[in-house]
């Protein structure tokens, strides 16, 4: 897999700091697991975090090392404060992504038809954030749209065009309120993407606007 489209450093810093909401964190983490370049950038961002932490002026605490050593175990579910991660979530290992993140098969997702050749399944909705899986047949032309906030789209399988840019498995498209686009799936096969969105999409034509209420996109 050759990944050529990466998230901005600001996303990776937020990921390293734990500042992202769950949906965006999940999309970034899936990309980072598949992308050595971004994994290295996150590692550096964490290293900076460690240095900043150790640069803090010490504050007094009543704890003692011996008290900790002799303490009873406490709840440690927080250790796994990240989404569960597959070793190879993108591309050919779509199934491992599904196993790791969705706890069910693709066919078990709550699919809804969202236009010709396009199905969508909503995985999460929290505040104004949505997490989706999109599944589009070859040559599907998605509606031209803009955004009310950020949108991160990770290609899990297949590929799509945006203008003259192609996004293939493992690539991540970083869009926001300054971006308008119209993805077109390549003719080679179906395209499956994981997408986190903030706020409603802004469609340029009426049919998708009408469907928007029904689908909650």
């Amino acid at each position: 897999m050759s990944i050529t489209r990466h998230p901005d450093s600001a996303w990776l810093i937020d990921y390293a700091c734990g500042n992202l909401s769950r949906g965006f964190e999940l999309v970034v983490s899936a990309h980072v697991m598949a992308c050595a370049r971004c994994a290295e950038e996150v590692r550096c961002a964490e290293r900076l975090g460690a240095e900043l932490m150790l640069g803090s002026a010490p504050a007094p605490a009543r704890l003692t090392a011996s008290g900790i050593i002799d303490a009873e175990p406490r709840e440690t579910a927080w250790l796994n404060g990240r989404p569960r991660l597959a070793t190879q979530p993108a591309g050919a290992s779509l199934q491992s992504f599904v196993d790791a993140y969705l706890d069910c098969g693709l066919s078990a997702l709550p699919w809804r038809k969202a236009g010709r050749g396009l199905q969508i399944a909503k995985l999460r909705a929290e505040d104004d954030e949505r997490l989706w899986v999109l599944r589009a047949a070859p040559n599907t032309v998605l509606p031209h749209h803009g955004h009310a906030g950020s949108e991160l789209t990770l290609v899990l399988k297949g590929a799509y065009f945006n203008g003259d840019t192609i996004y293939a498995a493992g690539d991540l498209e970083d869009a926001n309120e300054t971006t308008e686009h119209q993805p077109i799936v390549t003719r080679d096969g179906e395209c499956i993407c994981l997408a986190a969105t903030e706020g409603p999409l802004r469609f340029k034509s009426w049919p998708p606007r009408l469907a928007q209420r029904y689908l909650g996109i």
Partner: protein
């Protein structure tokens, strides 16, 4: 998604991405900390833990306080972190991270858990912001110099607007979207500041390795 049981926690990496193997920190104190943590992990060495505790506890508490936690909440979280260092040391992989980076990731994950389980903004954070918003960069700079932190001192060499964005992300726990809203700046401007500042600091950190 289901919450994985503790067994799953142990098999999952705490640092959830592939870190490059065996790269030395180049900083004697960082490698000494890692050696201490390996003695805790492999030999359950209480003296090594005592030294690690002395090196980290006060500074981690200071960091937690800077994020806006009150002393009692910070100490509760510090206890969880230092307990994990002792009880879950087997999860530490020196090939993937130094001790200090691992402990930072523990603090980060504990703070994520607190924010999500509480599902609320903690009020102290807001107080902290109001009290320090204007002097943030200069205060951090001063603290950094006082603590002799190499990389925080590096931050002080950044243009103030870049240092400020990085500090808001790292210390105040704000996403670049939240920073854009708070500073009333276009999202692209905040991303550029974060990216340029981070690139500069990253270069300096790598030089130090």
């Amino acid at each position: 998604m289901n919450t994985p049981p503790d067994a799953a926690v142990d098999s999952a990496a705490i640092v959830p991405f592939p870190l490059d193997a065996g790269r030395p920190e180049g900083d004697d104190s960082a490698s000494q900390e890692t050696q201490l943590l390996l003695r805790v992990r492999d030999q359950r060495d209480r003296a090594a833990y005592q030294r690690l505790f002395d090196l980290f506890a006060g500074k981690v508490q200071g960091y937690l306080r800077r994020t806006g936690l009150d002393p009692a909440d910070a100490e509760n979280i510090l206890q969880d972190i230092m307990l994990a260092v002792w009880q879950k040391a087997r999860l530490f992989d020196a090939q993937r991270a130094s001790a200090r980076t691992w402990i930072f990731s523990l603090a980060r994950n504990r703070l994520i858990d607190m924010k999500r389980s509480a599902k609320r903004e903690y009020a102290a954070l807001e107080r902290f912001h109001q009290e320090t918003a204007d002097d943030q960069v200069y205060e951090e700079d001063m603290l950094a110099r006082a603590a002799g932190s190499k990389s925080v001192a590096l931050l002080s060499h950044l243009p103030p607007e870049q240092a400020s964005v990085l500090l808001m992300a790292y210390v105040e726990g704000k996403s670049h979207r939240e920073i854009a809203l708070e500073l009333n700046l276009p999202i692209g401007t905040v991303k550029s500041r974060a990216r340029l500042g981070f690139q500069r600091v990253r270069g300096l950190l790598e030089q130090a390795s």
